[in-house]
């Protein structure tokens, strides 16, 4: 199946490629995958990865190797919003465990799962560089810090209510 990217993404990809010497196109792989993943519902299918390999003139396996190495790329479908809660030491001592269990019960899913309406995926991650504002979570490009249960209610409502009355 041939994957097509929007003109906007193609422009962005070309801008990125131009940041590296001509014969070093492969260097654009990580930023290009970010652009592409955003467009393809937040995850990367084999077809998408092959297309990226094609654009950068590298072997498909070079893309698979990279995609599976880094935690920010997904190779399986995810919810519209991926909630990533930090659980490393500094966040843990400030109560990240409670945040995770609160989210689990609120969304009715376990860590690693996606709500049945495909709106939220819950993940735990390691330190995101917000330890002083713990507990914290990230959704997309946004950091949410100094979390409380009320704040979480608010976030979930803000994001989810456009799609479902449940939130």
């Amino acid at each position: 199946m041939d994957v097509q990217f929007s003109q906007e993404s193609i422009n962005e990809i070309n801008r990125i490629i131009a940041q590296y010497p001509k014969e070093r196109k492969k260097s654009a792989l990580l930023p290009v995958l970010h652009v592409v993943q955003k467009e393809t519902n937040g995850w990367l299918s084999v077809d998408t990865m092959d297309k990226v390999a094609d654009i950068l003139a590298i072997k498909p396996i070079e893309v698979y190797e990279v995609v599976t190495f880094y935690t920010m790329y997904f190779t399986k479908p995810v919810g519209k919003y991926v909630i990533e809660v930090c659980q490393t030491g500094p966040c843990m001592i400030c109560g990240s465990d409670k945040i995770v269990s609160y989210l689990e019960s609120k969304l009715g899913i376990k860590v690693g799962e996606t709500t049945s309406d495909n709106i939220f995926t819950l993940r735990t991650v390691e330190c995101l560089g917000a330890c002083g504002y713990a507990p914290m979570l990230q959704i997309g490009e946004q950091y949410y810090e100094n979390l409380t249960e009320e704040r979480i209610d608010q976030i979930i409502h803000e994001l989810g209510s456009t799609y479902s009355d449940k939130y």
């Binding site: 940041q19 010497p21 070093r24 492969k26 260097s27 654009a28 792989l29 990580l30 930023p31 995958l33 970010h34 950068l56 590298i58 070079e62 190797e65 990279v66 190495f69 880094y70 935690t71 920010m72 790329y73 659980q87 490393t88 030491g89 500094p90 843990m92 001592i93 400030c94 991650v125 390691e126 330190c127 995101l128 560089g129 917000a130 330890c131 002083g132 504002y133 713990a134 990230q138 490009e141 946004q142 950091y143």
Partner: protein, 448 residues
């Protein structure tokens, strides 16, 4: 507040824009340096300043620059390490988020000193929102003619780009960073060759932390010898400390190196003491990789002198009684925190972040994680404590890159200083289980 060199203008209006930044005297070094000083003179200035790498290892920056192989006609690269992923560290983020132009100014003059035509800032993928801030700032700098061809008529040209990672702590290791920038898995390279000889695309390359590069700006403004007067002994200048954990005022502080640890924790200017009026139990002073220090060793060196926030003082006594300044990730634990659980989360972190190339780290980190999980969850055995010791010993020093050491040290230090807590966990597994591994006051670890 003491001397503020990096964060001085943090709260000035519009400091995140180029005009706001220039209003506070920003980009002055361009006039002073480009075409006026030779690149070697700039390097000399940084050497005189005694600046030491702020990314963790504390290697003298000027000396590192002088290792750059200038004998080839290959291009040279300066890479700014903005991967900031060491648990407990979040200082580079503040700098880039709030005062992006300070880093850009630092990149320009540092690249000039190294003779680079193109430089990159490698930023962790999770900081995508900061990448946008940096790219916007870089655009502003191009528009003003501070980047691009013939900067301010000096004849010097530089292109600057930001490159995002995608979630891998190991890409903070400089050769893994280079691999990642080349579009590969973040597998650290086997050294030698060192990047200064063969780095990015086989060209001579220098990798420096965000804060190190930013510090070059005040150094050039005030002169290396003035900068060297700040701080204490070989720990010159100021350092950003990321303070987190059970303190009243977590956040990023710029301190003059040499500040007493006790003052840093208890003064209202900084951490403001322990939350809830509790007592302090321990502190990890330099990011998760460095040894944890119990209260008894935290405020005093072995000779009785007060322990200071400096490279030398924090490492005084070696690993027996000391730790390291590291990246300045200062994590404070109150008396109720469970050291075993904390150590487990760190072990889990290193297990998660090991690149998997070399056997001691790949297999050792998962083993540490599993054994610590068991102890923490009331499934441990008494022999597990010695086993942990053996595992960390088998990793330390035997790996390709220092991630192995970083995984081993926190475990070793926790056992060294808090063995009684581990013993409590294995002796009273049901209590650990029932308490949902939260510390209870009646758990008197020392007499257990």
């Amino acid at each position: 507040m003491g001397v503020q060199l990096l964060l001085e203008h943090l709260n000035k209006p519009e400091i995140n824009t180029i005009d706001g930044y220039i209003k506070q005297g920003g980009y002055r070094t361009l006039d002073k340096v480009l075409g006026k000083m030779t690149p070697d003179e700039v390097t000399e200035e940084v050497k005189t300043a005694g600046l030491r790498g702020r990314g963790g290892a504390g290697f003298p920056t000027g000396m590192k620059w002088s290792f750059l192989d200038k004998s080839t006609d290959k291009p040279r690269y300066l890479l700014c390490n903005a991967d900031e992923s060491e648990p407990g560290t979040f200082k580079d983020r503040l700098l880039m988020e709030k005062i992006p132009h300070l880093l850009i100014e630092g990149m320009i003059v540092s690249s000039y000193a190294l003779g680079c035509r193109t430089s990159y800032i490698y930023i962790r993928g999770e900081y995508m929102f900061i990448l946008r801030i940096l790219e916007k700032a870089i655009k502003e700098a191009y528009a003003k003619g501070f980047l691009g061809e013939n900067i301010k008529g000096s004849g010097y040209s530089l292109d600057l780009y930001v490159h995002p990672g995608a979630g891998a702590y190991i890409c903070g290791e400089e050769t893994a960073l280079i691999e990642s920038l080349e579009g590969k898995r973040g597998n650290p390279r086997i050294k030698p060759p060192f990047p200064a000889v063969s780095g990015l695309w086989g060209c001579p390359t220098i990798v420096n932390n965000v804060e190190s590069i930013a510090a070059v700006v005040p150094i050039l403004n005030m002169g290396g010898s003035e900068y060297a007067k700040i701080g204490i002994g070989r720990s010159t200048g100021t350092k950003l400390i990321s303070a987190s954990g059970n303190i009243n005022k977590p956040g990023v502080y710029e301190i003059e190196l040499g500040l007493p640890v006790e003052e840093f924790i208890y003064s209202d200017e900084y951490c403001g003491g322990i939350k809830g009026g509790l007592d302090i139990k321990a502190c990890v002073p330099g990011g998760s990789s460095v040894p944890i220090l119990p209260k008894s060793l935290l405020f005093k060196e072995s000779n009785g002198n007060p322990r200071l926030m400096s490279y030398e003082s924090l490492s005084e006594g070696g690993f027996e009684t000391g730790s390291m300044l590291g990246s300045g990730g200062f994590i404070v634990y109150d008396e109720k925190q469970c050291i075993v659980k904390n150590t487990w989360t760190f072990a889990r972190f290193y297990h998660h972040e090991s690149c998997g190339q070399c056997s001691p780290c790949r297999e050792g980190t998962i083993w540490l994680d599993k054994v610590l999980y068991n102890i923490e969850h009331g499934l441990g055995k008494e022999s597990d404590i010695d086993l942990l010791w053996d595992i960390q010993h088998g990793i330390e020093g035997n790996t390709i890159c220092p991630l192995g050491d970083a995984a081993a040290w926190p475990v070793a230090a926790a056992i060294r200083h808090f063995r009684h807590e581990f013993e409590y966990h294995v002796k009273y597994p049901h209590r650990v289980k029932d308490d949902d591994h939260v510390y209870q006051p009646e758990m008197n670890y020392t007499t257990a």
